[in-house]
């Protein structure tokens, strides 16, 4: 019991929690934008890989860190545009298109990495984002600016969705595209925009891994974080505020299992601790399944004039 208390009382634990949460917050907001507009985006896992790689490569090539973040966002946007064309423009299966994009984005990133670095065995490194020492707020001043960006985006997106005409349009095309069309909203354009913006956020989520959490690009570094974001959006009932809460809660347990694993007396195999995040995500889905209020038009393709 005292081991638990020692962990919870220390600042490093909370610093780790917020660090683990950052890519999840960004990714979950990205998924949320797509799904509020009515489109599932299973491309997230691969888009995060592509964002992690392209952002890192940009910085490695001598450009600034923020340029790297921008390139990661653009990479995400390009894959988002492809997903939008396939699922909105051509009304193909959102499941299959998303999985295809995850495979394509992952394969392209790994291919690009091997073309750029055919022989290296230890991944080359960059100088990542520095902590914001100047901030003077405990826990937060040990984070990088990308964490601050993620935290600021939560109220911004919540406000945008609830209080602006554009946000209303996004929610309408996700709930009832026929009615939205009747109101003069261009359903295809709004959905495409939401997917592109959401995918850009997924790209930034990936870049956090290579430009802030670590300083190099590794194979399998995303490791299911994208799928966890998909689960977190259901847990959050498609609300940005609850998404933040879900990501923090999830990160809390993830950071805790890591500490327990280190402090542990090796009674249990370490793999059981590592399973915890995935099992928790499944549990969250089961608990919330009854209460979740899905966007009504989620996964329903829309063709003008067809019902």
């Amino acid at each position: 019991m005292s081991a638990w208390l020692d962990i919870l009382a220390g600042t490093p634990f909370w610093v780790a929690t917020l660090r683990v949460a950052t890519p999840l917050i960004l990714g979950t907001l990205g998924v949320l934008l797509c799904e509020r507009a009515g489109v599932l985006n299973l491309g997230i896992e691969g888009i995060m890989v592509a964002g992690a790689f392209s952002g890192w490569l940009t910085v490695y090539a001598g450009h600034g860190l923020w340029t790297g973040v921008l390139v990661a966002a653009l990479t995400g946007a390009v894959f988002g545009l492809l997903h939008a064309w396939l699922t909105v423009g051509l009304a193909l299966s959102q499941h299959v298109s998303g999985l295809g994009i995850t495979m394509l984005a992952t394969a392209l990133s790994y291919y690009g990495y091997r073309v750029a670095f055919p022989k290296v065995s230890t991944p080359p490194t960059i100088e990542p984002f520095a902590p914001m020492d100047w901030l003077g707020i405990p826990v937060l001043d040990e984070q990088t600016p990308l964490t601050l960006l993620a935290l600021l985006l939560v109220p911004l997106i919540a406000w945008g969705l609830q209080r602006t005409p554009l946000g209303l349009a996004v929610r309408m095309v996700g709930e009832n595209p026929q009615a939205a069309e009747g109101q003069g909203i261009r359903v295809m354009a709004v959905r495409t925009g939401a997917i592109v913006a959401g995918s850009a956020l997924m790209g930034v989520a990936g870049s956090f891994l290579t430009l802030s959490a670590f300083n190099a690009f590794y194979f399998n570094m995303v490791n299911g974080r994208g799928w966890i974001c998909i689960a977190l959006v259901v847990f959050a009932s498609w609300r940005p505020g609850k998404a933040l809460l879900g990501a923090l809660l999830f990160a809390f347990f993830d950071a805790l299992q890591l500490r327990l694993q280190q402090a542990g007396d090796a009674v249990l195999p370490y793999q059981l601790y590592l399973m915890l995040p995935y099992l928790l995500s499944i549990l969250a889905l089961v608990v919330m399944a009854r209460r979740a209020t899905y966007p009504q038009a989620l996964m329903k393709p829309y063709r003008k004039g067809e019902r």
Binding site: A107, R114, V115, M275, L285, R303
Partner: protein, 352 residues
């Protein structure tokens, strides 16, 4: 500009669509080959030779196709019923573990069973393990409305960690000098070689037989009709008296069972023990294969051989011209998206 349903679908279009998709894929990956600084034509020739150019290459491709046929069938059956089983990777490992648990660990118990009894038991245990690993998500979908895509995906990660834990502990091979591999299947339980001096084993015949069996089940039986009905429109099927939950459970058992068999046949035919890297994503490739085949069980065989050829060919091509093997994954992913689009344009046309 919008899409309009074609009044009638031409046979020429149906034949041309896959060809166009493959040509598009080759063009896109050709650009990537150029970027890597290799001659495009030679790269593709080497890739094709590495896959089908000699008896050895062909047997390697067919060996690789065995698990892919089975995971492809697993995805095809499930997707037909709109049960999006993305967890074949985990179910494959569940089957492999079960096979070794029954056919390797029992050696220490002192029981001496004939291989004729033990072999069917292994396959049964593997199919059951794979089926059970999918049953949870399927029940959660049917009863609670939990999206099965995410749960099956997440369970893949759980299974890999479980395999890792078991290879460190109860199933560890004590003679492997710390190498993470399980105890081996008993020698007399391994599948015979189909072509001597190659790795091709009789698992191929099992996979082909199962493809025909699944095709017959889907096309010719009441259960198959129900599966297709649930996939086409679950609400209408329920209204017509199809037991939807029971059908979804049946699909889950079938799909998970096929993926579990893929693991057991890999163990019995190729690796003889479980390792953490025995499947380089066969479960995920199975989804692509099922989609390439239009969810047709017999088409799965052809699609699996195509994907296996790309994977095997890329290995030997990469050794020769230095283009990264990940080109194979790009080709597979691009061909999936291209075939989807091409298939759509056989049904629809663009109108201004």
């Amino acid at each position: 500009m919008r899409l309009e349903k074609r009044p009638q679908v031409s046979h020429a279009a149906l034949l041309l669509a896959p060809v166009a998709a493959v040509l598009f894929t080759l063009a896109v990956s050709g650009l990537l080959v150029l970027w890597a600084g290799a001659p495009v034509g030679r790269t593709y020739v080497l890739l094709a030779q590495g896959a089908f150019g000699s008896v050895f290459a062909l047997t390697e491709t067919l060996t690789r196709a065995v698990p892919l046929i089975l995971t492809g069938l697993a995805a095809a059956v499930a997707f037909r019923a709109h049960l999006y089983n993305i967890g074949a990777e985990g179910q494959l490992y569940a089957g492999a573990l079960a096979a070794v648990a029954v056919g390797g660990l029992h050696g220490g118990t002192g029981m001496e069973w004939s291989p004729y009894v033990l072999f069917p038991l292994i396959m049964l245990a593997a199919a059951l393990a794979g089926a059970l690993w999918l049953l949870g998500p399927a029940l959660m979908k049917a009863r609670l409305g939990v999206d099965e895509v995410v749960t099956t995906l997440l369970l893949n990660f759980v299974m890999l960690l479980l395999v890792s834990a078991l290879l460190d502990g109860p199933m560890k091979d004590p003679t492997a000098m710390g190498w993470p591999q399980s105890v081996a299947l008993q020698g007399d339980l391994e599948l015979a070689k189909l072509v001597p001096q190659t790795r091709l084993h009789t698992g191929l015949l099992w996979a082909l037989a199962l493809a025909v069996l699944v095709w017959g089940l889907m096309a010719r039986t009441v259960a198959g009709f129900r599966i297709r009905a649930v996939g086409a429109n679950a609400r209408a099927a329920a209204f017509a008296g199809v037991p939807v939950t029971r059908t979804v459970v049946l699909v889950a058992l079938l799909s998970g069972g096929l993926a579990g068999l893929a693991g057991a046949i890999e163990v019995a035919g190729r690796t003889s023990y479980v390792t953490l890297d025995m499947s380089p994503g066969y479960g995920y490739s199975g989804i692509v294969i099922a989609m390439l085949a239009g969810l047709n069980p017999l088409g799965v065989v052809a699609a699996a051989i195509f994907v296996a050829g790309v994977l095997v060919g890329a290995d030997s091509m990469s050794r020769a011209v230095g283009v990264p093997t990940y080109l194979a994954d790009v080709i597979v992913a691009t061909s999936l998206l291209a075939v989807l689009v091409a298939a759509l344009f056989t049904q629809y046309r663009v109108r201004r």
